[in-house]
Amino acid sequence: MEAEAAAATPVSEAVSWVAGSRKIAHFGERVVGLRTKQDTATAGRERRGFVVLIPARNEDATVGEVVRQVRTSLRTEVVVIDDLSEDATVATARDAGAVVLPLAARLGAWGAIQTGIRYALACGYEMAITMDADGQHGAEAIPALHEVVSSGEADVAIGAFLARGSRPRRLAWAFFRYLTGLGVEDLTSGFRAYGRRAMVTLATPDATLLEYQDLGVLLLLRANGMKITEVPVQMRDRVVGHSRVYSSWLTVGYYLLHTGVLCLSKTGRRLASPSSVAQD
């Protein structure tokens, strides 16, 4: 890692902005590509496989181990998106060999994931697999998710842990499932594999203001015709820390209200592709 950094050419010489002529019409945002000298030299190389994205905020106790496990078992690039952590998350992740994208302000889990997806697109990856930094998701489940998307069976594979969650949480999910018609059991799982089409959709400005990564993201994907499949996985217990969305009645209340309104504004827009649960 350090050797690579030393070999990189100085910013002032190497970086030149290339103004992309493509505009994302309804937002008037010009998409710009960043090219370095090294990049131009290796132009034309074929696209790369997949990258693992880990959004993290104050997870220095577990992120190092998670990164190491993924790197050793899968030999793939791991990107940790740091959501303005106050602890040693960034240093720990770097030491473990991850690429760190440090956010200058807190964007939340979805904002962090979108950053990772935009990075993955910029680097030419075909697939992005998101997972949590707290050790709940195991690297051993990644190949299964990867397989579902790379075989073309679905655009998005969700690693579903079907037995988790308290009664109120499961009731909330059932309610949202009914409201939106999304046949997804584990709506809030952050363990997902996104194929290239999904990545492109999720990198757009439309997707930027979604506040939570679960329903809003799935609804947007479905509205764009993506196929979503669930793959049952084993989830380990959270070693340290607690759920942020369900941390207090206030945050749960806000979450339910917010998601409820989102559902109401999107129901009725059911499109072609039904989602299905992968049979083992």
Binding site: A8, G33, R35, P102, G111, Y119
Partner: protein
């Protein structure tokens, strides 16, 4: 004979209008915000000088207690303004979020340049 209430009313109207004109002139209130506030300045000045105008307009609109007219219109304008501000805010937040993301991606790539031609994102 000009009553003290008329002086106060005209004076207040003129003051508010003058303040808005001054802000626009000095560019503290510029562009489309000026477009919104200048007509308001004019209306406030006119109504301040001739408050009885609402007595003329009110009955035409079916309002039996004319003084309520400026209040109702004023309130409606405030609601519209607030709505416009929230929409603007959403746009700004989106832009800011994407900017923060781009900076993070740049910083990540500064330290670690992957050996592939980057795509648009």
């Amino acid at each position: 004979m000009v009553t003290s209430y008329q002086w106060i009313s005209t004076g207040t109207g003129a003051l508010v209008a003058a303040a808005i004109f001054y802000l626009v002139r000095r560019d503290h209130l510029h562009g489309r915000y000026a477009l919104w506030w200048l007509p308001i300045a004019v209306v406030v000045a006119v109504l301040g000088a001739y408050p009885r105008l609402v007595d003329l307009v009110g009955p035409v609109l079916g309002i039996h207690y004319p003084p309520v007219l400026p209040l109702v219109v004023g309130f409606a304008l405030v609601l519209i303004k607030l709505l416009m501000m929230d929409i603007e805010r959403s746009k700004s937040e989106r832009r800011l979020q994407r900017l923060i993301q781009r900076v993070a991606i740049l910083e990540g790539r500064l330290r670690h340049t992957p050996p592939v031609e980057p795509e648009e994102y």
